[in-house]
Amino acid sequence: MRVLYRFSYFPLAKLDVQLTNPLEATMKLKVGQPAPDFELPGHLGKSVRLRDLRGQNVVLAFFPLAWTPI
């Protein structure tokens, strides 16, 4: 229901590829922008800083909760 509501917010004729995913259309970050740096503790015992991974491709995978599929 929530999704339907979001779609109905835009006039149908103006829907284009950019807006097919309403969530992405309202994202704070966009493709082409620098990824904000962060440092967080991890389950392997050491903290990880995004900036330390400069020079490699990184896949950042947010997931809602442990015990759900990643």
């Binding site: 990824a35 904000p36 990880v48 491709n57 947010f62």
Partner: protein, 190 residues
């Protein structure tokens, strides 16, 4: 999930670290870091625009290139998993050369021995310090990335009480777990 991708994978959720550890253990171990965005609660999720009103995050993927630029954003239905094939395609597009080199890599090589062998991961800050220290001392060494080498990861677990502690050193058969400059100095500089 995420097997064989030519990229460093970082999982992030708002769980606390012991919860992530217990979950990873229940799955038989996860070789890439699961990061805890627990406190300040959801700060990184919020910054990336994926924190939900219920305090958890969306199921979302950001692919970041070598220069730290976001190349791909995918927000998934919270109950669906992202597709590995699609991610591989994205990585191939943003970095064709690197994708080709992983695919041709030999799978199981014997682990190196002799001299200084450092078992490490690309993301660990102690490994970074250890590299800088070794270079400062003008010592040459061989690096083994345990995030991409299952045999090496198992070897480190055998040495380090079941933990994948990085860096771990094999110095002509003497094992030093973790970055201990004093101990390394004793062994290497006389």
């Amino acid at each position: 999930m995420f097997a064989g991708l030519n990229a460093q994978v970082l999982g992030i959720s708002i769980d606390h670290v012991p919860c992530l550890q217990a979950w990873a253990d229940s799955l038989g171990g996860i070789s890439y870091p699961l990061l805890s965005d627990f406190w300040p609660h959801g700060q990184v999720s919020e910054c990336y625009g994926v924190l939900r009103k219920d305090g958890t995050s969306e199921r979302a993927i950001f692919v970041i290139d070598r220069d730290g630029i976001i190349q791909y954003i995918d927000i998934h239905d919270i109950d669906e998993q992202p597709s590995n094939a699609e991610l591989r395609e994205v990585l191939r597009r943003i970095d064709p050369q690197a994708a080709a080199s992983t695919e041709s890599e030999a799978p199981e090589q014997p682990l190196p021995h002799g001299g200084i062998v450092m078992y490490c991961t690309p993301w660990c800050s102690d490994c970074k310090q250890a590299r800088a220290w070794l270079e400062e001392q003008h010592l040459s060494y061989t690096e083994v990335n345990i995030a991409q080498n299952r045999k090496a990861a198992a070897q480190v677990r055998a040495w380090a009480n079941g933990n994948e502690t990085t860096p771990t050193f094999d110095i002509d058969g003497v094992i030093v777990v973790d970055f201990q400059p004093e101990k390394l100095k004793e062994l290497l500089i006389r």
